[in-house]
């Protein structure tokens, strides 16, 4: 089965699929995050239907950052609407608009500039030595910088573009 890779290029398809959502609530029953959020603030059905069809600034909805892409909503949706892909596409829109969550901004910058999402600490280095593990080899950062330059990711991570 083919995997759809870049959903945000398909604005028409996105709205069309959202229109077939029956608001049956099945996705809200299985997306585990929905059960534990304060005031039920995360809800895949609400997030994508509201944002795709009714909101002028849908990608600014902070709820989209609470989706962890577990795909449970997609697996149970009886109409194959796939809320997870809508929410992912909204995250892409948020990048273009300058509304990326600060954690994402910091993490992406960290990976581009160091090669890893988590820094190596002195404590871990000592633990690695005690376990007779070799030092963590760093990736050539020039490669990552070249990729970042090509995709203009650093520039696109800037805030408040609108």
């Amino acid at each position: 089965m083919a995997i759809k890779a870049v959903y945000r290029d398909d604005e028409g398809g996105r709205s069309g699929a959202a229109e077939i959502c029956l608001k049956c609530g099945v996705c809200c029953n299985v997306a585990h995050s929905c059960h534990v959020m304060n005031d039920h603030k995360f809800n895949p059905r609400y997030t994508f239907v509201y944002d795709c069809l009714t909101s002028e600034k849908g990608a600014s909805n902070p709820n989209i950052w609470l989706c962890v892409s577990c795909h449970k909503c997609e697996e149970t949706c009886p109409y194959e609407v796939s809320p997870v892909h809508f929410i992912e596409s909204l995250k892409g829109d948020a990048l273009d608009a300058g509304w990326v969550h600060q954690t994402i901004r910091a993490e992406v910058n960290q990976i581009i500039t160091t090669g890893f999402a988590f820094p190596l600490t002195g404590a871990t280095e000592r633990q690695r030595q005690a376990l007779n593990l070799r030092s963590v080899p760093l990736p050539p950062l020039t490669d990552l910088m070249k990729i970042a330059e090509k995709t203009h990711i650093a520039e696109r991570l800037r805030e408040d573009k609108q």
Binding site: H32, L66, K91, E107, F116
Partner: protein, 293 residues
């Protein structure tokens, strides 16, 4: 079976004892590990969903390094598997996207060709349960284990190809092979909550964790087992940090599957790295010690 070992970030930077036990146990199952210098973060899937093309290019660069050695990639982490398997599949299928990514990679000197596969070690081991059974020396008889496969090894199933995302049983079979008893427990397919802790919602993450720990405890589990370092961290350090808020009057230790396998093939608790855990249960360790004697 020789593989390019993809460690990712979280295990080498935060949980090196899981790297140590993996390097010790996997070769005993005929899984030879080759280190390739130059791998970066996979990249982390949830963060790079904001810009899929950059994420794909970084993932493709990692896959290229393995292609250049002719080895398939072996991962120890659900997140790395999720990123790299999907990128590999998408780029093999979509020639236009492959061309775009190769254009981005051009100045790095790498080119994605689509000649290798990416597998989590659980995908490799579960295909040959008999091999696991053949090296078990100290069956973990009587140890009740709540199996938590984690979200990103299960979904999307057409890319991950590991197990039924709504009713997973593969990890249970792998645990049973060690002589332990996989328990039937509620909330098995739920998220561990780790990712939510990154997005300023620690309270919700703790509630998610509390629901899962409660279900494990209700099923009389001696411990849980996981195949993902983030799930491990949440059930171990996360449980320690959240215990007071959750008002827990019990603890459910967690043991990474390769640690459990290590114990079953004769490693002691120290060698398996269990003594470095934040949540430890003397009763469980006494049981394991007795089985190892």
């Amino acid at each position: 079976m020789r593989y390019a070992l993809f460690l990712g970030c979280f295990i080498p930077m935060r949980l090196p004892h899981l790297e140590a036990v993996s390097r010790r146990v996997l070769p005993q199952l005929g899984v030879e590990l080759t280190d390739i210098d130059g791998f970066s973060c996979c990249p982390e899937p949830v963060g790079f969903l904001t810009d899929k093309i950059t994420g794909l290019a970084i993932a493709a660069r990692n896959i290229c390094l393995a292609e250049e050695t002719g080895l398939d990639i072996l991962t120890l982490c659900n997140g790395c598997t999720y990123t790299l398997r999907q990128a590999n599949q998408i780029l093999k299928q979509d020639s236009a996207l492959r061309e775009k990514v190769n254009d981005i990679l051009a100045e790095t000197g790498h080119k994605f060709k689509g000649t290798v596969d990416v597998r989590h070690y659980a995908q490799v081991l579960s295909r040959d349960i008999g091999r696991i059974k053949s090296i078990v020396k100290k069956p973990l008889t009587g140890i009740r284990v709540a199996c938590h496969p984690g979200c990103h090894i299960l979904s999307p199933p057409e890319a991950m190809g590991f197990d039924d995302p709504l009713n997973p049983t593969v990890l249970d079979s792998m645990v049973e092979t060690l002589g332990a008893t996989p328990v039937d427990w509620d909330k098995k397919t739920g998220c561990c909550g780790w990712t939510l802790t990154n997005y300023d919602d620690r309270e919700s993450a703790n509630r998610l964790l509390g629901e899962k720990l409660g279900a494990m405890h209700a099923a009389a589990s001696d411990c849980s087992t996981v195949i993902c370092p983030q799930c491990f961290y949440q059930f171990d350090t996360g449980q320690m940090l959240a215990a007071r808020e959750l008002k827990l009057d019990y603890r459910v230790p967690t043991i990474y599957y390769l640690q459990l396998l290590g114990l079953a093939i004769g490693l002691n608790l120290d060698e398996a790295g269990v003594k470095l855990h934040r949540v430890r249960d003397p009763a469980l360790e006494e049981k394991l010690g007795r089985l190892a004697a």
